[in-house]
């Protein structure tokens, strides 16, 4: 009876055959895995996510202004300025302004005036975006950088 520490010797040809087969399999598998890395882009081919808006002084005081070309809502009040994305947090449609706030045309998500979710399937409120002031005094919004709701930039 072959002991665990002294197994039957494997014939040399079988060993070489198995080793060759496994080497080929690992080479093929490795190549396929390597190629599968390709479809995941390391650089996204998109325009920068920062958009320039007007000067804070030009904003209507205490009001909210929709900037349709960037799908951004700009809020201005005593606390300062803030930007809210108009891309629905459910499935990425662009929300429309209504009397009570915003509503999404795709699946009926409803948001309040400052983007808080009030109804429908949206898992969260509209994203608040990072606002900064560019050197020329205009406001700059980063549409990819999310900040906690209620974050205002003092002006």
């Amino acid at each position: 009876m072959p002991a665990r520490l002294e197994p039957d010797p494997i014939p040399r040809r079988d060993f070489l055959g198995l080793a060759g087969t496994w080497a080929a399999m690992i080479a093929i598998g490795g190549s396929i895995l390597g190629m599968l890395r390709l479809p995941k882009p390391s650089v996204l081919p998109e325009k920068g996510s920062r958009v320039r808006l007007g000067r804070p002084e030009d904003l209507p005081a205490g009001g909210a202004q929709v900037v349709p070309e960037h799908n951004v809502l700009v809020l201005a009040d005593a606390r300062g300025v803030a930007a809210v994305s108009l891309v629905c947090s459910h499935l990425g449609c662009i929300v429309k302004q209504t009397e009570g706030g915003f509503s999404c045309p795709c699946h009926g998500s409803v948001f309040g005036r400052q983007g808080e979710v009030t109804g429908g399937p949206a898992p969260s409120g509209l994203k608040w975006l990072a606002v900064s002031r560019a050197v020329d005094g205009r406001l700059s919004v980063d549409t990819e950088r999310e900040v906690p709701p209620g974050t205002f930039l003092e002006v």
Binding site: L91, C93, P105, G108, G119, G120, P121, P123
Partner: protein, 514 residues
């Protein structure tokens, strides 16, 4: 010897049509049973059929021709797709213009495009009907379990082909349907966000990025979808179809009542001791009888088969011609839609996916992750596992497996319809969790929604049938029928009763004007 050389040459020249034909076709004209069999097994494309076919398999109600119809529509799609590719340009700037060209300028372009659209829709319909036929006739039972799995893979591939084709026109419909689709792919974020682990483990973001090659639907997405639509998925489908067809033959032909040889299929392990090789002929009687030109009369009555050439080929050709006829007529009567060019800042309202996804879209309107990913994944997995979970020996080819099955199916259809209608009506009439408890935690809203409750109700119903009948086949019939009913109701609601803002409308005439 010059003259004789020339003579030989002339003779060869004269014999050219005959010799060329003989070199291509390896048998005589298919007038005898023998040459008919040779016509089948001597041809790469035909030998996927058995040389003889059981007469029952040729009967219309045995299959309704659905499998062949699905493949016929695929052939139509392949042919029309290749010619469309001559003009179509997969670039965000030119795609829409090339669609306009195909529709208005290219000779026959409009009909070919309509044909492609209609054949695509019909293929999805027929694939679903085919699945239903195979299920209700218990044709997934041993030894055909794996072919059912292949069928499910083909079903998913068909839907993927249709979905990827949806983006290519680059119109508003396409752009917003794919935006929604890509965000459904990203919807695991809903769950990871609710659990607070997105920054470590972002499956959703990864899936969306692989699909679009960017954050938004753009050139990257168009290139990827085009590639999938014209190369990757068709190749996958052809490969799967080839194995699917081949397995029909290897699993003993179509399932039929009393089909004795189907017990284990040819070459399957029957547990019998291997017989030592002898010099005795190993040919079966079926092949013996085709060695001579005349088939013995005895064989005909005992096995009820007819030569596949021409009977099966003729039936398949008939189905193919009917499919061509239907798609051409529909293509001439109804144009494929083409909306305005894609505009990333104005969503379509309502933005609707193709009709067979509208059931999903209805569920997505409660929770993107549950309705768009988890429930569909559970349904597809459940369907795939049917033949492994229901292993009761059953006569294949009997619809609903008899009176009890018909009764179960009828009751399940009723239950499925009522439950599905309720799952739509209650939220429409009374609202859902968020309208009752605005501050309910997100995890609760994701997990408890009409779609998941409906799925649970169907599972519960199926378990009840399983307890009462003590038959896994009956439980499978109950579950499958429930899902058919749910799919039908959800698709109907999504298609006809949902309007702008995904609000509920009894008729399109009530949609608000703007």
């Amino acid at each position: 010897m010059v003259a004789s050389g020339l003579q030989t040459f002339t003779e060869n020249l004269r014999a050219l049509p005959r010799t060329v034909r003989a070199s291509i076709v390896r048998h005589g004209a298919p007038y005898s049973d023998r040459s008919r069999s040779q016509a089948v097994f001597g041809n790469l494309f035909l030998h996927i059929h058995a040389t003889r076919t059981h007469v029952r398999s040729l009967g219309f109600t045995a299959t309704f021709g659905l499998g062949v119809a699905a493949f016929s529509f695929f052939l139509i799609l392949l042919a029309s797709g290749v010619v469309l590719m001559v003009y179509y340009t997969p670039s965000t700037e030119l795609a829409y213009a090339s669609m306009k060209d195909i529709h208005f300028v290219v000779p026959g372009g409009r009909l070919i495009r309509n044909l492609h659209r209609w054949a695509g829709h019909l293929m999805v319909v027929v694939v679903m009907l085919h699945m239903g036929r195979v299920f209700y006739s218990a044709s997934y039972k041993a030894p055909r379990e794996f072919n059912w799995v292949l069928g499910m893979a083909l079903f998913v591939t068909t839907l993927a082909l249709s979905f990827t084709g949806y983006l290519l026109p680059w119109d508003q419909l396409a752009f917003w349907a794919i935006t929604i689709g890509a965000n459904i792919a990203a919807s695991p974020r809903e769950l990871t966000d609710a659990l607070g682990v997105t920054q470590y483990f972002d499956v959703g973001g990864f899936q969306k990025e692989i699909l679009l090659g960017a954050r938004e639907v753009g050139q990257g997405a168009l290139t990827r979808f085009y590639l999938l639509h014209v190369i990757v998925l068709p190749l996958a489908l052809v490969t799967l179809v080839a194995v699917h067809f081949w397995r029909i033959r290897k699993d003993g032909g179509l399932g039929r009542p009393g089909g004795a040889p189907t017990a284990a299929g040819k070459g399957a392990d029957t547990g019998a001791q291997p017989t030592p090789p002898t010099d005795a002929p190993t040919k079966t009687f079926g092949l013996m009888c085709v060695v001579r030109d005349q088939a013995p009369a005895t064989g005909q009555t005992s096995d009820d088969t007819v030569p596949s050439w021409p009977y099966l080929m003729r039936a398949e050709l008939l189905v193919f011609m009917v499919c061509v006829l239907i798609s051409v007529l529909l293509g001439m009567a109804f144009d494929a839609p083409l909306k305005e060019m894609a505009n990333a800042s104005i969503p379509e309202n309502p933005a609707k996916a193709p009709w067979y996804f509208l059931g999903l879209q209805e569920m997505v309107s409660y929770s993107a992750f549950m309705g768009g990913l988890l429930i569909p994944a559970i349904v597809v997995l459940g369907l795939t596992l049917i033949p492994y979970l229901d292993r009761e020996p059953e006569e294949a080819g009997v619809y609903f497996s008899g009176a009890l099955g018909r009764q179960t199916a009828r009751a399940s259809l009723l239950f499925g319809l009522v439950a599905a209608v309720l799952s739509v009506a209650i939220p429409v009439r009374f609202g859902w969790i968020r309208s009752w408890f605005p501050s309910a935690p997100q995890l609760l809203i994701i997990l408890i929604n009409p779609g998941s409750l409906l799925t649970l109700a169907y599972a519960g119903w199926s378990v009840r049938v399983l307890r009462r009948t003590a038959s896994t086949r009956m439980a499978a019939i109950a579950l499958f029928t429930c899902f058919v009913a749910g799919f039908a109701v959800m698709t109907y609601v999504g298609t006809y009763l949902r309007g702008p803002n995904w609000d509920f409308f009894w008729s399109r005439a009530d949609w608000p004007t703007h």
